[in-house]
Amino acid sequence: MVQTEFARILADPLELSRQWSREGRKVIGCLDSYIPEEFIHAAGMIPLRILGSTGNVTLADSYLPVFAGKLARSILEQGLRGDLVHLAGVAVSNSSDAVRMLYDLWGRHIPQQRAFLIDVPAILEGETNHRVFRQAMLDFKDELEKFTGKTLESAALRRSIAVFNENRKLLKEMASLLSASPPRLSAETYLDAILSGFVLTKEQHNDLLRQLLESSSGKTSENTEKLVPLHVSGPILVDRSFLPLVRKCGATLASEDLGTGSRYFWDEVDEVGDPVEAIVERYWNKITESYKTPMERRWLHLLNQIERSRAAGVIFVIEKYSDEDQYDYPVWRDRLRSRGIPSLLLDSELVLESEQVRTRVQTFVEIVKGGAFS
């Protein structure tokens, strides 16, 4: 069953990439959502999203304070410990201050591994920033060409765009099965499917997604119990125990706008016109992450998702010390409140499961159910 396949992959997310390297393929670790993975793919390499690990951080403590956040610290830890040694390189973009610092630290402490910096602006407005954004993307493309010794041909780029776009379409289709009423897909499967995509080749992922969609079409979901539909928002959700916990509290995820979810896959690349320019535009226009301005695109996306799923409440899962999201949260909470939508904030450090989280979700679900919200 495809569900078990996802679970197997996620049990050791880096295993496949180790295998690829043994087979002589080049893998590039991508540290955030503004890495144009299509370029890496078209250059004959495999982009792999690095999402840290829940293990203890010890080595990285010599270089980063706790308040740099668990994600940045644990990625550095993985690098220092040699867990990523099989990668041909890592690509970092100028995103949150913590991630940007990782580029410097990589150069200093893991110098044997190639690190690429895509020095894009944080402000995605104005002609000047657009010009600089485009140039940073083109510079990255040049670097990749130098790295592989081959030029990125238009035909290869178009093929890559097609593969990535198909991936995005399949994921969006999956999202609509999730928010259907009743859902055609369990939230747990949905999350596993998304997370697997970060450590599979897009081609493999597409195959599995097609299988999943086929097996989910027609029949109604195995779970018909009455669960309260909720929307989940935040930069990253990798804790697979969270959704079962939500289910035990009588609710389920019906839609999301996670940085590692729909914000990552929602926007497609235009398939007509020059492929390089189309890729650049896709990243410039994509639903913004919290570390990019303006925030409105992200807000509208959140609203659209809630409308689609008819979610009765929103859970913000926010990484501790992720300033960008911490500033957004009260603003969004208030905007939602003015629309009569209740929300709950949960702090995460890649891991969420705890007694406190359970109690808070439980209380929240009761509030949502009882409509006792004002």
Binding site: F67, A68, N94, D97, A98, L105, R108, A122, G126, Y327
Partner: protein, 413 residues
Amino acid sequence: MTSAAPKKKGRALNSSYEAAIVLKDYWEGAARHRVEGRPVAWVSGNVPIEIFWALGIYPVYPENYSAVCASIQRAQEFCETAEEKGYSIDLCSYSRVNLGIVLGKGVDDPTLPYGGIPRPDMLVTTRIPCLPQVKWWEVVREHFDIPMFVVDATMVELPVSESQRQHYLGQIRELIPFLEQKLAVRFHEDTFIETLRLSDRAAELWLDIMDLRAAVPSPVGSREMCGNVFPLVAMLGNPKTIDFFSHLRDEAQQCVQEGKGAVENERIRLGWDNIPMWYNLKFFSDVEDRNAIFTYETYLRYVWGGRMDLNDPWTAFANKHLDVWLNYSINQRIKTLLSDVVKFKLDGFVFHQNRSCKRFSMGQRDLSQVMQEKIGVPSLFIESDMADPRAYAEAPTRVKMETFLEMLEAKKH
């Protein structure tokens, strides 16, 4: 060495007493500007400040206001209000103080220092020191619903590259018409260049003072200089700044000529990294009892000011704004620090691991390690916060500092 200047309660330089007057003047000027209906912008550290003075837009610095609140022990209450409103205790405390005011009783609350913060007509900020700054302004914009402009930049390794300069100047060319249009002001290049001249004169004086502090004994310590820096942040292009800094410089020069130190029997020279603890500037002067002095700060030397070659004003203007400690890559910070520690003859260095200012604090471990390895200068880490006193633990910090001083003292023998 001749007789020492007054210490402890007094200032080493008499001109330092002018700082409070200049600061009061600045905030009263802002209030007047507001009352007279002239445009007011809220700005943040490292915005292209000279443009505002040249355009007649009063640049109001909430960051400074937060520091002022901290220095009179009023930061905590506002931080707590912000936290009640949902802003995490882990966020920059300058922003928490400000959001506590804005979202709490409001900026006009008469019990506030200087009678309140003048309401903004416009928000301008920059990513140069950090990203949270931009996020903070987004919250403020949500509240006031007024126009906002953000100047972006990527981190630099010196010299600043042509493309980074063009990125910066391109945005300035967008900012000026934006201000003109939204605030009905007019930009005149001549006035701007004149403002740059005044700004550069102030920076020159400031850097002179900084350099004079490389002398042994040092004429003035960190506590006093932290109180003197504000005009360099907010009042560049204002002639009052030049007067004030001239007095300071002349006095410091005289002390150096006479071999007069701020500490009577200076034995240990210290450097400081990061923003000071504004509620606890005493931390700096406390070491003087042990014949030690803080005589160098990355914060005072590389976060504000910066010289400009006015033969090529726009290039110089861009360079100055990009050449800022917080915008340096780690390698650049290391390069700069190593040479300064030698130049200032520092015996030890204190890193303030400031939980509020993450961008300042990340990379400090590398700085400390390199300093020890390359030039044998030891350092101490203290964990605290620039404005939120709840993050400061007096007793353990004191013990740490004393042990460190003893170690440095022993090393001297």
